[in-house]
């Protein structure tokens, strides 16, 4: 690894040792989970912490979504697998941590300074977390995503979002009308 990459990696590991989104660190995350368990004995908490820890693992979720795409919706999905520590990091793949923090642990091909094992190993502070590798969907950054909000199993609203990759800003619109997939072919 070059000196500049090593220096940047060290800087990033210092900054990101403290999760800036939720204030969790490698030392207080266990206490946070223990406190939530204690609290859940006296008051009702939604969603249940155990459910979130079990189900919100992106690896479990990815496997479920693969099955649903194959057996129910008959649709394609990007290929996803767990990484083996130290394996060669392929440029054209997206790296995702199994337990995310507000999108902090989704590393796209252009995030070159994060695509090394020094950085990845430094980001496994959440108990049980692992790194996954997923094939990169090249249309996604150009076409954006629809964020669909469901409450009680019903769609309440949908927002289409697009990120300006240069400015690192977002713009979005409430989705009212849709192309058919045949039109987009």
């Amino acid at each position: 690894m070059s000196n500049s990459v090593h220096a940047y990696t060290h800087f990033v590991s210092l900054v990101f040792d403290r999760n800036t989104q939720y204030g969790l660190t490698t030392t207080n995350v266990r206490q946070y989970l223990d406190n939530l368990h204690t609290l859940s004995r006296v008051i009702r908490i939604w969603p249940h912490q155990d459910h979130v820890n079990t189900i919100a693992s992106k690896w479990e979720l990815s496997q479920s979504l693969d099955i649903i795409a194959q057996e129910r919706t008959n649709t394609a999905r990007p290929r996803t697998r767990l990484m083996v520590d130290g394996e060669r990091i392929v440029n054209a793949m997206v790296l995702k941590r199994t337990h995310s923090d507000a999108g902090e642990h989704v590393i796209i091909p252009s995030d070159v300074y994060k695509r090394n094992w020094d950085y990845l190993r430094g980001q496994l502070d959440v108990p049980g977390s692992q790194w996954m590798v997923q094939s990169f969907v090249e249309h996604l950054p150009k076409l954006g995503e629809w964020r669909v909000f469901l409450v009680g199993g019903k769609v309440v609203y949908t927002v289409h979002t697009l990120k300006n990759q240069d400015r690192k800003t977002w713009y979005w619109d409430v989705a009212h009308t849709y192309y058919t997939l045949e039109e987009l072919r």
């Binding site: 939604w46 189900i55 129910r72 394609a76 964020r147 669909v148 469901l150 289409h160 979002t161 849709y178």
Partner: protein
């Protein structure tokens, strides 16, 4: 209608042309994909947890487009699933194209759904 192969140049949200029937078909395709995925995921997770999956209360599916390598057809896929209190609602209108925030309706709907959930788990006679 777009010609084939124009996917990358298209603004894929809110087409303002085409017949009502075409637009309805597009909306139906999108919502069928979302609700089919939701239904199956809710069943799978509830079996796994041996309890109701929390997505029955609230969930955000992030849906994107992918080209199937075999058939070269365009398809929807779920890129992410968000389900906790920290989920971004996209309610800040600063950079939004439309000025009406839809989060008020979400709030009322969530309050009613949460109330029903609380009644269910605190009252053993409730369904």
């Amino acid at each position: 209608m777009h010609r084939q192969g124009t996917l990358l140049t298209a603004d894929v949200c809110n087409p303002a042309f085409g017949s009502v029937e075409t637009r309805r078909r597009g909306e139906k395709q999108f919502h069928k994909f979302v609700t089919d995925t939701y239904d199956e995921l809710h069943i799978m997770e509830s079996k796994q947890l041996m309890a109701r999956s929390p997505i029955g209360m609230f969930v955000r599916f992030d849906v994107a487009l992918i080209v199937d390598q075999g058939s070269q057809r365009i398809m929807y896929f779920v890129n992410e699933v968000e389900r906790t209190q920290t989920t971004t609602l996209w309610s800040n209108r600063l950079r939004a194209k439309s000025s009406t925030p839809p989060t008020g309706i979400l709030g009322y709907t969530l309050a009613e759904t949460l109330h029903r959930w609380l009644c269910t788990i605190t009252d053993s006679s409730a369904s």
